[in-house]
Symmetry: C2
Subunit: 129 residues, 2 copies
Amino acid sequence: MNDASDSLSTTLAALADPTRRAILARLTRGPATVTELAAPFSISGPAISKHLRVLERARLISRGREAQWRPCHLDAGPLREVAEWTSAYRRFWEKSFDRLGEYLAELQAKRRETTSSKEKSHARAKKRR
Amino acid sequence: MNDASDSLSTTLAALADPTRRAILARLTRGPATVTELAAPFSISGPAISKHLRVLERARLISRGREAQWRPCHLDAGPLREVAEWTSAYRRFWEKSFDRLGEYLAELQAKRRETTSSKEKSHARAKKRR
C-alpha cells in the first residue's frame, strides 16, 4: 500500500455517498456557503458540516477564508486519479457489453427463425384449406 | 437518493480499499481461486473472504459454481458507471490544471525578469571596476 493508493482510497470513500456527490454537483455551478449547500437536503446543519469535513479531508473541496460564511469551492483534481484508475478497466466493461450484444443478436436470430418457420407452417395450413 | 446513486455508492465504497483494488487488478489477468487471490497479501483467509464478499455484493466479481474452489471472475460493468460519473468533472480538473500551468508560467516570467535585472546590475558593477 503506497501513498497514491491511500489518497485514491480516501477520494473513493468520500465519493461513496449520494449527499456528498450532490454537494460536488452543486459546486460545479460555483462556490456556495454551507447554508446554500444544506438547503436541498432534509438533514441537520451538523450532518452537512460532517460531509463537508470528509470532502475537505479528501481535498475535493476547499473553504474560503473570506468573512464568516467561508464559501466552499470545488477542487476536482483528485477525480482525475479516479478517472485514470477506472480507464484501465474500460476494455473489460466493453468486453462484457460486447458479450451482451452478441447474446441479443443471437436471441433476435432465433426469434426470426421461429417467426419464419411459423409463417411457413401457416402458409402450408392455408394451402391445405 | 435513487437506485442508480445507491448502486454507485456501493461500487465506490467497494473500490475504496487498496486490497480490493489489487484483487480486481489480479482478475484482469483471468479468473483466480481464493487461495491464488490471497497469496500476495499478508492477511488471513477470512479477511480475504470478507473483501471478496464486498466485491461480490457490488457485482464487481462473480464466483463460479464449478467444483469446490469456485474461481472468481472480474465483472467490470459497474466501473462504467464510475467512469461516466467522473467524466462529468473532467473540465473542472482540466481547469485547475490550466490554472497551475498559468501560475508556473508566471513564476518563470518573474524569474527571468529577476535574472536579467541581476545581470544588468552585474554588468554595471563590472563597468565601474
